[in-house]
């Protein structure tokens, strides 16, 4: 696959990247190979010589990890996408809560749990922890967390009524059925949610650069927006 480009992308980018790859192939005739997994797994694989040309991470941490080891072309690192954190509840009569300091999270949860990604290793969980800490709600929330391995399952917990509340990305909430967004976290309550991408060290061929450029272009931006990402 001398012509092709291999992209290692965080699993949450699956659908968007698939569409973009299709569009790129239609336009340039060059194939794009993708591999979706947890950012951590992908980063480790790149560290161990994976045939990846481009890495699209779901958080900065693993990109930093590679950068520290000079495994990416530093100059090509771009924080391409952003996202927002929302509070969701099972679908039902529409309701809203204002997310602020002093929110009575305990009452909202009752005996139930708060579903989100595992703060230890899932980016959405980490952002949720930051936000809850900022809002002073962390001591209430921490013992009640249902830490999912994947945002997708945090959504499912809420959708299936196992958890009365969940914290997920707005992109996930947008396409999920069975849940409703009942509040948005103020952007200042957590670090900027960012999806950085970069070309893997020594892989900066013309073909890869061309796709890198395409990802930065407007056609890709349209696709990303369609899936709810904010594009920077």
């Amino acid at each position: 696959n001398a012509q092709g480009v291999t992209v290692f992308a965080a699993a949450s980018l699956t659908d968007a990247m698939n569409d973009i790859a299709k569009a790129y192939a239609a336009r340039s005739g060059a194939g794009v190979r993708t591999s979706y997994a947890a950012s951590s797994a992908l980063a480790r694989q790149i560290e161990n010589g994976a045939p990846a040309d481009l890495f699209f991470s779901a958080d900065d941490e693993w990109m930093d990890y590679l950068e520290k080891r000079s495994l990416i072309e530093r100059s090509t690192r771009v924080a391409r996408l952003g996202n927002r954190l929302v509070l969701i509840a099972p679908a039902g009569p529409a309701r809203r809560v204002e997310i602020r300091k002093g929110l009575d999270l305990a009452a909202l949860l009752g005996s139930g749990r708060l579903a989100t990604g595992d703060p230890a290793n899932v980016p959405v969980g980490r952002y949720a922890q930051q936000a809850l800490t900022f809002l002073g709600l962390w001591p209430i929330a921490e013992p009640k967390l249902a830490r999912a391995d994947n945002v997708r399952f945090a959504l499912t917990y809420v959708e299936r009524g196992e958890a009365p509340l969940g914290i997920v990305y707005s992109t996930d909430a947008a396409i999920a059925r069975g849940v409703q967004v009942i509040g948005e976290f103020p952007p200042e309550s957590h670090a900027e949610i960012s999806y950085p991408m970069a070309i893997v060290a020594m892989h900066g061929t013309d073909a890869v650069k061309a796709f890198h450029t395409f990802l930065l272009g407007s056609e890709a931006a349209t696709v990303f927006k369609r899936f709810g990402f904010s594009v920077r």
């Binding site: 947890a38 951590s40 980063a43 941490e61 693993w62 930093d64 990890y65 749990r113 579903a115 595992d118 230890a120 290793n121 899932v122 967390l145 249902a146 830490r147 999912a148 391995d149 399952f153 499912t156 917990y157 299936r160 009524g161 196992e162 958890a163």
Partner: protein, 232 residues
Amino acid sequence: MLTEFELQALWLSLKVALRSVAFALPFAVVAAYILARKRFPGKVLFDGVIHLPLALPPVLVGYLLLLTFGIRGPLGGWLYDAFGLRLAFTSVGASIATAVMSFPLMVRAIRLSIEAIDLGLERAAATLGASPLDRLITITLPLMLPGVLSGCVVAFAASLGEFGAVITFVSNIPGETQTLPLAIYAAVQNPDGDAAAARLAALSLVLALSGLIISEVIARRARRMLGGAADE
């Protein structure tokens, strides 16, 4: 020597695995007996259903468990209404997940043992006045002990290692559902978690090894007891 966190995960893993083996065993014995001895239409399908958890990705199995045993699921709803029992996010749920995942392994081992039993012995017992149930208890069950043991060991080890189904079904709640693999996973997902992961993995190994040693000792006794091969 061990941190409290590690101790907790260790203890929980042990609890979950043991309970899982205890849950699965009676069903596995029955299923293995049916598969080994009965002929009926749809037997292969029955066999297939038993192997299902093996052939599906564990995450999917966890997801299906959630759909079934979740509070809105057919079985889970009934359990909750009837007994106030909730499985999701509990260590009992974790045991169920590991039991389901290791069930086919247990059944296989026991079935193999039943098939190795000389039917002539059961017939002899019948001529001595033992009813089918009596035969099952006094002849077949003791003679299938090696398979039961082997099945328990393999199920115990598999339960110790089970990750995908557990994290998906009951999420990752320290002290409640965070077994060793979940803790290891969390550690590995962290760029600097390698050392922690290694410690946890070592713990997991020690646990598995202890199980093995105990089982070997029992197996050796059982073989003696069953009058099996020794050095002539």
